[in-house]
């Protein structure tokens, strides 16, 4: 049974995703624990040059083909399956990201390897694999034993420090013969870049961020008033944008923007992993939520368990009067 570890590297438009380096850092730990090699799996067309950034790995397995020039779930899954079949690693790490979602579960289905999704941590002890998954909107952690020779773990962004996985230098490259990629049923048409907005929330020092706890579009005025008093801007969780209450440019999180303000005031936001991914780097996090069990309190520095409609107006008043 192989003790090798494989990391399926994620990239978009020629840029490696941060989570790729985090997975390499975790992969190094697992490889050391099991005494195996660490492989980075790189899929695409003209991507071999990216191997120069994957120095943390012992080897880079590259699947190159014209049909892989643009990401599609189907073609990339086939390519990843070919690489994983060739490498037969003990554990394959895949990003718990938009792309990784199709990849991780798809590979589990095709290869018949067990999958642990939403992993915060993965460990190998005397060959035994355990994985800690963050489920129920971040409210609970499930630790699982994963028997068998192979497994796939989908790693949540932020689960490991990227710095330890960021090393330049090109490891030996192994070319994996691409699988047959004709007759693909999913075809790339185009990439649509996000539109710029009136406010760039990634540049704001203070964000008052609003979630579904706000209840209605009209109530957003309540947080807007506080943001203005503080000289900051309003950002939000995804449902607020999905309901059309704020533009997409204000969305913080996995499918929105990553922000690192000096102050992030989370108002009526539960703190789902997909939201936390975009704001955990803020210098000071203050959360206001009626639910004492809301996961946002696990990342906040200060928390207030109460109705936002009591606290926010009082704080706005206080800030305005500068007393």
């Amino acid at each position: 049974m192989s003790a090798d570890i494989a990391v399926v590297v994620e990239h978009l438009e020629g840029v490696l995703a941060e989570v790729s380096f985090e997975m390499l850092a975790k992969g190094r730990e697992l490889a050391a624990a099991g005494g195996g090699m660490l492989w980075a799996v790189l899929i695409g067309h003209g991507v071999t040059r990216l191997a120069g950034e994957l120095g943390a790995a012992d080897g880079v397995a590259v699947v190159e083909q014209e049909a892989l020039a643009h990401y599609t779930p189907e073609a990339y899954e086939k390519a990843a399956a070919a690489a994983l079949q060739a490498l037969a690693p003990r554990v394959a790490l895949v990003a718990s990201s938009s792309m990784g979602l199709d990849q991780a579960a798809g590979l589990s289905g095709t290869l018949g390897w067990p999958l642990c999704a939403y992993c915060k941590d993965v460990a190998l002890t005397d060959g035994a694999l355990t994985a800690v998954s963050q489920i129920y909107g971040g409210k609970l952690l499930a630790t699982a034993e994963v028997p068998g020779e192979h497994a796939i773990c989908a790693m949540l962004p932020g689960a490991a420090a990227a710095a330890a996985g960021r090393k330049s230098g090109t490891p030996p490259v192994r070319e994996i013969p691409p699988p047959a990629l004709d007759g693909l049923r999913v075809r790339f048409k185009r990439l649509i870049q996000p539109e710029g907005g009136d406010v760039d929330i990634t540049r704001e020092g203070i964000l008052v961020s609003v979630g579904r706890g706000i209840g209605s579009q009209d109530n957003i005025a309540v947080v807007k008033e506080l943001a203005e008093a503080l000289g900051g801007a309003v950002s939000s969780s995804r449902p607020i944008v999905d309901q059309g209450w704020l533009p997409k440019t204000r969305q913080v999180g996995k499918s929105g923007l990553s922000v690192k303000p000096k102050l992030y005031l989370a108002v009526g936001i539960s703190g789902a992993p997909e939201h936390i991914e975009g704001m955990r780097g803020a210098e000071l996090i203050v959360a206001i939520n009626t639910d004492p069990g809301a996961p946002i309190f696990d990342v906040a520095h200060y928390g207030v368990v109460s109705d936002l409609f009591d606290v926010i107006p009082a704080l706005t008043e206080k800030v305005k009067s500068r007393a």
Partner: protein, 257 residues
Amino acid sequence: MDIVVTVKMVPDLVEELEVNAEGTDLDRSVVKLRINEFDEHALEQALLLKNQHGARVTVVALDSGEVDETLFTCLAKGADRAVKVMGDFQGGVSTHTAAAVLAQVLGGIPHELILAGVQAADDRDGQLAVLLGSALRLPHVSVVTGVEPSGDKAVTVRQEYSGGVVGELEVDLPAVLGIQAAPQTPRYAPVSKVRQMMKTAKLETIEAPAVEVGAGSIVTSLARPEAAGRAEIIEGAPEEVAARLYAILADRGLLKR
């Protein structure tokens, strides 16, 4: 077009989640289930396609919790058929198992497009849309925020990546899509209409086929995250809380002037 929407009952995250005595699963005797909110978006996307282009929408759910009421609500919103898969699902099932069961059930239900919520609160072993795609050997695309027909035998979908970048993909039918968000807020069905459906409409039932799969891993502990990095909780009346927060911000030089 025949559209199937899979609907899953998941623990309501608004409620306190109680863990069983063994510390390995939720205490299923007290857990309150509701429809997976992403499945509501999947249904909305299906109904939009039906309204704009014509389609027959069938909702399919495994029997658990108050699934009957959920299915009647789907009918009240505009679904044409509701199918309940009978079996031992009350204790929760792994996504691999649900996918295997549904893959067989779908053998008997016409489907050109299968829509499911992109993820669910408890899909620890992977997401249904993808595993169902694998089981049926159909193409799958997740994190979808828009679906439009592209001729008779394909759809154009929008898939969201990080940073708000969107990929536009053309997908041959039949296919399975994991819906992140419908282009509009899921519609609401008035209680009176749901009640009326309960009186007039019928849920179809199918016995679940026997399948032999599991999650492939065994949960040894289910627990709240450790308190280590938890927030310092500020208590008191709103004015007291505001004063304390104000002092913290002032202390950090976060107040202008």
